[in-house]
Each structure stands twice: as C-alpha cells, then as structure tokens.
C-alpha cells in the first residue's frame, strides 16, 4: 500500500476531527470532546454531514462574527441564488421549502425584519410584561403546589415561555398547547421514530394556524409581532407569505423550547447543589444576574449555528473556499479555558462572563431579553414558593441528542406542599387574555410604555 502525500484540500482542511453532534454519545462526551477541541483544534474540519468546519474557540467565533459578508446565513430553498443550506447542518428534511425566518437570511433583508421586531423585544419592551409573566408562573405553580409534586418541564417551564411568546405575537393564549407540542416534541423526537408522524401532523397544524393568524391580523389588525410582520415591507414590497410564516415559526421555535431547556437544567442543577441553592436564595439580589448568565454559559440551550462561506477568504488564520459549511459551536466556545477559567465548573458569581449562549454578531438571539426575563421570573417564584424541591433523578428525561437543543423532556420533583395564591391556569389565561386585549400589551415599546396592570 502506498501513502500519497496530502495535497490541495487535504492540506487546507486540517486539523481533522470526527464531529457528530447529532450522535447520542455526543451528549455524554461533550466535555471530553470540547476539551480536545480547545487543546489543539479550535477550528477543525470534520467529514460528517457532507463535510464542514467546526469552530469551537471563543476567539475563532468572534472572528466569524466579524467576517461580515464573507459568511452567509441564507437558506436558498427554491434554488434561486447560490443553493446555500441555511443554519442547520445537515439541513433538516422537515423544514424543506421553508426558510427559518430572518435567521436564514442575510442583510439587508434580515435587517428589515430585525428593525421591525426589535421594538417588541428590547429590554425596555420586555420589562413591561413582568406582571404578566409573574401571573402565568403563579398560576402554573398554583396548579401543583398543594400536591407537593411537579414536573418542572410539563407544568412550568413549557407553559410560561409558550404563553408569553403567543401573547407577544398576538395569538390567543388558549392556543398554547397547539403550538407547544410541535415546538417541543418536534425537537426531541428522533426522525424515523413511530411518534414522528404525530409530530409532523402537529407541526402542520401549527403552520396552518400561523398562516390563519397572518390573514386574521391583516383583516382585523391587532397588536403584536404577527402584526409587525404582516405590515413589513422590504424595498416597498411585502415579503411572501411563506417567508412570513417562516419568521413566525422562528419566533415560536426560539421562544418556546430554549427557555424551557435553560430553566429545567438550572433547576436540576440547583436540586443537585442545595448549598448553592441556599446561597442563591440568601443573596438573590446580587447573584440573580450573574447566576443567570452562568447557567446560560454552562448549559447553552441552543448549542450552535451553521453558516456558509460566501467567498474565498481567510478567517481566523484559515483559508476557506466559497460554499464550504461552518458550524459555530456556541456551546463549546462557552467552555473555552482561554476565556473562562475552570470552564466546566458552575460559578454563580462568575466575572468576565462574555458567553456566547445567544450567539455573536448581527444574528444575536432577538429573544435574549425574553429568555432572561422569563427564566428569572420562573426561578424567583420557585425559590420563593417551593424552595426545598428535590428533583427525581430516576424519572428525569434529557433529550437523547443535543444537536439542535440541549433540552429536557421531563423533570419531576417533590417539595413541601404550600397554599394556592389564586385561580388555576385556564381561568388565569382567560383573564390575562382580557388584560392583553384591553391594555394593548402586545404593542411595541414605541407605542405603549406602561407596564402591564394585572387585576
């Protein structure tokens, strides 16, 4: 056997790794694999999924974030441009024909969407909703507090982000289950499993309702993100309906499962570390912000995004060719020892926490302020009302694979029962719907500055 000298692409595509983030073992081997990346190959080539680069170092990700037009998020579903595949590696079969909203677009189109939606999602815009968020979380806990048992995923962390996302969009709150099933099960259900047919059906029902919502708000305008999208014009023309549905599906996908994942992992960790939980309760005013950022860093619910190289170029000291795919691993960069001392340890008061859980650059998670606020409000109520919760490790179900979302299906827990404070979820959602409608809560912050008034 002869061994030929490496040449051309073989020389350029170095170092080589085998990286398969969709494999079930990746979840268990995450820390070990991540350490290997940081030790010798923060930017490497993997032959998996048609071949792609993997960027794992914080410095490398920052270089990509600043690469501007050298990188593209475009998902050219109809083969009208350069055939790029968007932000998933590989592009999912389920989403064929759909762009993943403005996350699969480049400027100036992407900027037009962000400019239209930002005034609904800025820190000032989200702060107005805190009494609303608190009321949903209160009702969720009231449903369970007398029993001493809760599933933090099913009974709290799935519901509050879902209801709040629909409220901001201008979709009736009572529809949260119609949206929750595909947004949650659509991520964790393995392709080819017997449940997939049901999930696809639920996904279709959601898309249908999104399209119906667009038609409704056009005919009878009501405030919210759906209205902002329905009125959007780019260069004087409205986007296609299919692009608008894609944008709404992106807001749902971004708003639902990610905050659920963050909350479940943080609560599981606090149950496993009762001393740290007691400290967080005691020093909440000073620790809540840094603890939240640390949970974001450590658990990184959305582990990464794909990009396509849009021109032959050099980034972070490597040569790239147009059309090559790059996986930007926010999760691995968040364990980069060059930036985070002792990166595999949770430090609730960590300083210098320049984490990448919301991405970097112009595509920074548009819902980052939603995620932080909803997470903090749920956590505060859990710590206030059921501070002695103990999670049931045996019946906890993590996602089998963490290639798309590092999430959890179930997190059952027990606690000392306590008294209810108000009505249950259904009644609460009915009265909150009235509050949304009467006070126009879903208006952008440019129109309405006042905080929601509940009762």
């Amino acid at each position: 056997m002869t061994v030929s000298e490496p040449h051309g692409d073989d020389i350029r595509k170095q170092p080589r790794v085998h990286f398969d983030r969709h494999a079930p073992e990746y979840r268990d081997q995450f820390e070990e694999q991540t350490r290997a990346f940081h030790a010798g190959c923060p930017l490497a080539w993997s032959d998996t999924y048609g071949g792609h680069w993997v960027a794992a170092g914080n410095r490398e990700l920052l270089a990509f974030a600043r690469a501007g037009q050298k990188l593209s998020n475009d998902h050219d579903v109809n083969g009208e441009r350069r055939g790029y595949q968007g932000i998933n590696i590989p592009a999912p079969a389920r989403g064929k024909g759909f762009r993943g909203g403005f996350l699969e677009m480049d400027p100036p189109e992407q900027r037009a969407y962000r400019n239209a939606l930002n005034p609904y999602l800025s820190p000032a815009a989200i702060a107005r909703w805190i009494p609303f968020i608190d009321e949903v979380a209160r009702a969720c806990l009231d449903e369970k507090i007398e029993s001493g048992r809760i599933d933090f995923v099913d009974d709290l962390a799935n519901i509050v982000p879902a209801v709040f996302t629909l409220a901001m969009m201008g979709v009736p709150l009572k529809k949260w289950e119609l949206y929750n099933e595909p947004a949650h099960a659509g991520v964790y259900t393995p392709p080819g499993s017997p449940e997939m047919a049901r999930v696809v059906e639920a996904h279709m029902a959601m898309l249908k309702d999104i399209a119906a919502t667009l038609h409704e708000v056009r005919a009878h305008p009501r405030p919210g993100l759906a209205d902002a999208l329905a009125r959007l014009e780019i260069d004087g023309k409205p986007p296609s309906d299919i692009d608008l549905v894609g944008a709404m599906a992106l807001l749902i996908g971004g708003g639902f499962d990610t905050t659920t994942a963050l909350t479940a992992h943080a609560l599981e960790w606090l149950s496993q570390h009762p001393d740290e939980r007691a400290r967080l309760v005691r020093e909440r005013d000073t620790l809540l912000d840094t603890a939240t950022e640390e949970f974001l860093r450590y658990f990184t619910p959305a582990p990464g995004d794909g990009r396509t190289v849009a021109e032959n170029c050099e980034i972070a000291g490597k040569e790239f060719e147009e059309g090559e795919r790059v996986w930007l691993s926010w999760a691995m960069a968040n364990r980069d020892p060059a930036v985070f001392p002792d990166p595999d340890r949770v430090d609730l008061e960590r300083g210098g926490n320049r984490h990448t859980a919301f991405g970097l650059g112009i595509h920074r998670c548009i819902g980052s302020n939603v995620a932080r606020t909803v997470f903090k409000r749920m956590l505060i109520q859990v710590l206030d009302r059921i501070p002695d919760f103990v999670c049931d490790a045996e019946n906890t179900v993590h996602y089998e694979t963490i290639g798309v979302i590092q999430g959890m299906r179930h997190l059952p827990a027990t606690f000392t029962p306590g008294p209810r404070l108000g009505p249950g979820l259904e009644e609460t959602l009915a009265s909150l719907q009235q509050v949304c409608d009467e006070q126009g809560l879903a208006e952008p912050v440019t129109v309405r500055k006042a905080e929601a008034k509940i009762r």
Partner: protein, 63 residues
C-alpha cells in the same frame, strides 16, 4: 477613565448595563448600549472594567 462603546460591534447583549447600570444606557428600541457620559465616575470604575470583561462582542474600550 473614559469609556466608549463601538456601535458597529455592539449587538445589544446588555451585559454591560447589568454590570454597570449607572454608566451604560440601553436603547429602548433595540437594547444597543452607549455610555451615558464618556467620563467614568471614580466610584464606577470597577464596574466598568467588569463590563469590558463581560462584553461578548468586545465592543467596549476604556482609555
């Protein structure tokens, strides 16, 4: 100490305003940050240094 936020680099992560709320203000529209005053008060310098260390985009500089 003076502080500057590079508007081209800032993407509205809001960590600076968490660390030094008396120094940075966030746009009501998109959460992008800017210093309220370029001159940092003496009692805010530690917080500003921490804001510099916390910015994911490395958009803040002190001089």
């Amino acid at each position: 100490m003076k502080v500057r936020v590079d508007p081209e680099r800032c993407q509205g992560h809001t960590l600076c305003a968490m660390r030094a709320p008396k120094v940075f203000e966030l746009s009501e529209i998109d959460g992008h940050s800017s210093p309220i005053n370029e001159e940092v008060p003496d009692d805010q310098q530690d917080q500003v240094v921490e804001a510099v260390r916390s910015c994911p985009e490395r958009a803040i500089s002190v001089f």
